[in-house]
Symmetry: C2
Subunit: 161 residues, 2 copies
Amino acid sequence: MAAKAQYEELIRQFSAFGAVKRELGRILPSDCPSGSAAVLTLLARYGDMRMSKLADLLAVDMSVTSRHVAHLAERGWIQRSPDPADKRSRIVHLTPEGEHKLDEMSEETTRLLAERLADWSDEEVAQLTRLMTRLRASFDDCRDRHPSPGLESTTRTPAST
Amino acid sequence: MAAKAQYEELIRQFSAFGAVKRELGRILPSDCPSGSAAVLTLLARYGDMRMSKLADLLAVDMSVTSRHVAHLAERGWIQRSPDPADKRSRIVHLTPEGEHKLDEMSEETTRLLAERLADWSDEEVAQLTRLMTRLRASFDDCRDRHPSPGLESTTRTPAST
DNA sequence: TATTGTTATACTCTATAACTATA
DNA sequence: TATAGTTATAGAGTATAACAATA
């Protein structure tokens, strides 16, 4: 359990991190901004999945996911097939064109990151990755264990009934 | 120099980090969202400064800074005094009310963070803080050494002449 | 002529709520 | 009645460009 000043400092760094994210975002093509790119990345890693699963992994509302997916579908980078097991659902999957697009973007992004982190050791990069993974996990776990009032554990607009 | 897969994984975590930031943002009062809160934090830490310095520390365009500062000034949390040394400039400084507001928010935010990171050791929190600080520094340094074409080292819309 | 700061406009990301079609 | 997904609307953050005042 760290001191309050330590948490304050960490929060400062969270805030400053936005600059890093924006710089990485600037090299993405305008027809595939970061929100859409995140969808492609998840599909490439975890394979076909339903919208709701995608929303869960993105940790955003399904309405947001729907928009990103629609954007990608218009450009032919993903396809939405009906789910035979549940006609309400749609299975999202990456097309070869989508894979290609993702590869292109990934190339550019890792190149920029490699340039910026040129003087970082392999171990330091791994360490930051581990800690950020754990950070996300700590927030996810707590969301399930101690849900804030009115905050669902699923990424969904509450039913209005 | 890490492998490409390592960079890709790190970028994945950068993307997922948005969820953490959003959860922290949700506990802020609606009259002081995260952009404004960042301004208060910087003023509390570094003291009075000019708009341009503030924009530099926030790593956003000065037009953005101007909006946040105007928002805070309307609520009496900061004041803008003319700079006697340069009549174009304005010095921004925190009011006692602004300090109070910041304290309140800081209380809530660190409380939430402490709850989420309850099972993190002191050293782990410190390590993440160090690595994120260094990350930001690596991006800042590179911006000065290898500026992208058209990307100024100062946070400023390029002159249109 | 260049710089400081402001404002207007536009774009991305997000959440809420209302709606549909299934279950 | 509840759930999967869509769409409309609104709010926050940011960048670009044009502008006023000063250097």
